[in-house]
Structures are given as structure tokens and as C-alpha cells.
């Protein structure tokens, strides 16, 4: 069988294939090197970074829900400087795009991180304006169009790196949010981050998560994610990296048809450490079976 062309061009970021791994679900890559050849992944969104190191939230930080999970890691990470010194050299060995996911409590923090990262070998910045776990910031930036515009515009000033803005699904209208990010200068959108949810242990009568509320991910959210990608793709001209519950090739194809130019694999890694590869192969065999020469041929191909 002929190999199909899996290259994607996110208007400024070219990837050898449309598979990325989602921030917070793939550590800094090392943890999965025994399972996946990192050279085979289009791009790696690293664990969410903050300006200073963070220990994150108390445990339990995870709850299983029907076809999904809640997490409240709360951005445990070594800080942007430790990332550059200790993790980036490792990641830079591989032929994959390194995408730094940044999280600030203030616009200034976002800008400062963008500035610091601009002088490194990372390929892109992913502006996480939607992490629901950080009390001080996160939510506020991601859910109001004005704020999305403001934080994106400011960060844009501090960095020439390819800028991905990661959108929160906990909004009234994803279209206006997507548009704000585009107008403020984002090169790309990634979506969706987790939906806010809660699970209660009825024996102890306490929330399963120590922090009560956490972020829902996994197959349960896929219909919401596909819908939002579809709505955003019809609204903006910049490319979209779609994610939310992608477990197999068929799920990824849904996102591509809905208008995503690439996809990201998150929670699936936890169940199948080779999920990213299986999904890549799943897309390939779909394309082959349907007779497409390139993955680009199905992006946004949804018909009514």
C-alpha cells in the first residue's frame, strides 16, 4: 500500500504528522520514551509551566467518571527555568515540535514566560488561558472574550514564537472566544481544555478530589470538543489543534473532518501508552482505505 502524506502545515508550524500529545498528559516526554519513539510524534505539548516552580494541589487529584476522568493536578511543575535547563535539552534531541504550555497568574507572568522562552529552541508557545485548577488566574482569562483578547495581544508583543492559544470549554460561546484570540494575533488555537466537573464519594460524603472541583477529560467530553472545534473552525481562519477524548484513529478523524488541522492525544496516553502511535496509524489506514493521498484532504471535510 502507498503511504499517505501525513504532513500538516499549521500556517507557520509544519509537522510531520497531525499527532501531538496534550499538555499535562505526557510529562516532558521522558516518561513515555520506553513506549513511543518521540521522533514519530508531530509535536509535544509539555506539562503546563509556570514562572516559579509549583507543587500543585493536594491529593487525591484524580477521579474516574463514566468514560472520563477528573484531575486537579494544579500545575505541579518545576518552573519555566528548570524546564529550559533540565528538560528542553532532552526534548530537543528528537525530531518533533516542542510546544511549551504556559500558565500565568497575571498577564505580566504570561509575558515574562513568553519572553524567557523566546530565546530557546522551543517551536511554539501554547498559551493556556483555561486551566481550571489555579484559583488566582486561569479561568478568568479563558472565559471572557475581552480577557482572551488582552492576554493574547500582550503575549504576542513579547514573543515571535508560533503562538497557540488554548481555549476553555467552560464558556457560553466558543465562537466569540476563538475570534478574540485570532484578532489578538494568535497563530493557532488548541481546544478543548477540560470541562469543570465534580465527583462525590457517597461513602465518605466528600468530593473524590481533595480540591472538590477538577477538570473533566476523556471520551465523555468528545462530543462537546468536536462541536466546539467545528464551531471555531467555521469562525476563524487560523488553524486549530483539536483534542478532547481522542482514543483511537476514528476519533481523530472526527476532529479533522470537523476542521482541526492537527489533533492532540491526552487522557488516552494513560490507558494506552502507545495511543499516539495507534491513533496515527489509525488515521493513516482510514486515509488509505478511503483513497486519500494526504491527510490535508480531509481537514474540514465535513458535509451536511
Amino acid at each position: 500500500m502507498n503511504r499517505v502524506d501525513m504532513k500538516v502545515d499549521l500556517k507557520g508550524l509544519e509537522m510531520k504528522n497531525p499527532i501531538t500529545v496534550a499538555s499535562g498528559t505526557f510529562g516532558f516526554g521522558r516518561e513515555y520514551e520506553a513506549y513511543v519513539d518521540l521522533n514519530e510524534i508531530g509535536g509535544i505539548m509539555v506539562k503546563g509551566l509556570t514562572l516559579e516552580p509549583r507543587e500543585g494541589n493536594p491529593v487525591p487529584r484524580v477521579a474516574e467518571t463514566p468514560m472520563g476522568m477528573l484531575n486537579s493536578v494544579g500545575l505541579q511543575n518545576p518552573g519555566v527555568k528548570a524546564f529550559i535547563e533540565q528538560e528542553l535539552p532532552y526534548l530537543s534531541q528528537f525530531d518533533t515540535k516542542v510546544i511549551a504550555n504556559i500558565n500565568g497568574n497575571t498577564i505580566e507572568e504570561y509575558c515574562r514566560m513568553a519572553e524567557i522562552l523566546s530565546n530557546t529552541s522551543i517551536h511554539a508557545i501554547e498559551l493556556n488561558i483555561s486551566c481550571p485548577n489555579v484559583k488566582e488566574g486561569g479561568v478568568a482569562f479563558g472565559v471572557k472574550p475581552e480577557m482572551v483578547f488582552e492576554v493574547t495581544r500582550r503575549v504576542r508583543e513579547y514573543s515571535d514564537k508560533y503562538l497557540i492559544v488554548k481555549l476553555s470549554p467552560n464558556v457560553r460561546d466558543i465562537k466569540e472566544i476563538a475570534l478574540s484570540a485570532e484578532e489578538a494575533g494568535a497563530d493557532c488555537l488548541s481546544m478543548i481544555n477540560t470541562l469543570m466537573g465534580m465527583a462525590i464519594d457517597i461513602e465518605t460524603q466528600r468530593p473524590v478530589l481533595a480540591r472538590g472541583i477538577g477538570g473533566l477529560s476523556g471520551p465523555a467530553v468528545k462530543p462537546v470538543a468536536v462541536r466546539m472545534v467545528y464551531e471555531a473552525a467555521r469562525t476563524v481562519k487560523i488553524p486549530i489543534i483539536g483534542m478532547g477524548g481522542i482514543m483511537e484513529g476514528a476519533d481523530a478523524v472526527e476532529f479533522l473532518l470537523a476542521g482541526a488541522s492537527a489533533v492532540s492525544v491526552g487522557t488516552a496516553n494513560f490507558i494506552n501508552p502507545r495511543a499516539s502511535m495507534d491513533i496515527k496509524e489509525g488515521i493513516e489506514s482510514y486515509l488509505q482505505r478511503k483513497g486519500y493521498a494526504s491527510v490535508k484532504d480531509i481537514i474540514g471535510g465535513l458535509r451536511f
Binding site: F26, R61, F270, P273
Partner: protein
Amino acid sequence: MTTGILSKIISNDLISSDIYRIRLERTPDMGNIEAGQFFHIKSQDSGAFFLRRPISVCFTTDNEIHLVVRKSGKGTKVICEKRAGDSLDLLGPLGNGFRLADPDKKILLIGGGIGTAPLLELARQLENPHVKVLLGYRKDPYLVDEFQKYSKEVLVAVEEGERGYSGYVTDLLKQEIDHEQPDCIYACGPEVMLKKVQQLGLQYQIETQLALEERMACGVGACLVCSCKVKAEENGWHFVRTCKEGPVFSGSEVIFDE
């Protein structure tokens, strides 16, 4: 390049109320298995439960691995109801194992409930004639006969039941420390038990190794949901990963909350 290993169930026996011993085929890609390590388990009929479940290795032979599982929730129910011939999808072995003490050391193993399981493989691997084992159960003891094979003595405590000392296994611990003056205590069981072991270890300056439980997602160190608080220079503490730096921690480093 490994991923989850499909391993066939050789037998699955109920060995106590709600406790199952599952014998599985050991495959070469599992490599070396240390006592204290765990497998992260998924059922093939995906959809039955979502996340993998961490289960310790209880016993190994050249061709088999044995798990002892307590049927408690959704996932362990599915796992425990599998029959001979069915397969489980095992990721692992994962985590660190117990650091094996030299064979001339005096060793005390203390296990509570399902926490007794990983100590059996430990007892086997220690190959040490000075091992003494304390086992605590709520009601019906299990695995006791086998522990006897790998130790000089086994004491059993039950909270409600006939066999052995009637009370908590930690009640036995104090007197055994006085009596045996062990060089090292290995413990696995409920947190209250581990706290007690830690406290006595510190008090009597005995090295303790504690096998902890924490809710996990990835099991391989990537997701950071399984954090365990350990002592650190800066700030007094920091979080490490139970699935990667653990599940076995030194009693001198773990910080139990309140």
C-alpha cells in the same frame, strides 16, 4: 518499545471473602520483577472501566505472576470476575520495588489486609532466614501458609475472627520490636498502620520501607496525579510520584497529612 502486555489467566481462585488470587502467564517482555512493583491493569473489554488499576505483584515464578486482588469497586470487580483463559492487559511492572536488605539482617514484615499481598513476593526474594512476618486481617486470614515457607515465624492478628491474636497488627509490632530488635521493617497496608510503623521506626531508629497507595492515572510518571509528600530541604517538603519514585518510600522521608 513495550505497551500493555496481554497476559492469559491460568487460574483465578477465591481465597477469602472477596479476595481473589489470579495466576497469570509471565511473559519475557515483563523482564525482571521486583517485590513491591505493580502492574497497571486494564480489562480487554474496554468500556467496563476507564482508567487502569494498580495491583501489586504478590508472587512470581519463572512462568507465572500471581496477583491477589480485593473486589472492592467497579474495576476490581471486573478483574476478579475474569476466568481462566481470559486475558488481562498489564502495563508494567511499574514503580520502584523494595530495596532488599542483606541476608544477614534481621527483618520484620508487617502487612495489613490486602497490603499483605506484595510482602509475599518480598519474603520470597529476601531469601533470609531471619524474616519474621506480622499479618493483620479484619476477619479471615489468607496467604499465611505461604508466608510460613519464606520466614522463620508468622504472627497473625485479626480484628474479628478466630485465628491468631485478636486486635490490630500494630499491637503486635511494638512487642516484636522490643523482642527482635529488627534492622529493617517492611510494611504495606492501610495508612493508619503505615503511620504507626513510621513512628515506631523513627522512635527506635529502625529503617522502615513503606509501600504506599495513591490514586493513579498513567502509572508511568507522566500525569502527576499520584503525588506523595516527602521531606525536602526547601519548603520542608515536596511532591514526588507514587507510581515512579514509589510506591515504596522510606519511612524517614514520607510525610503523612495530619
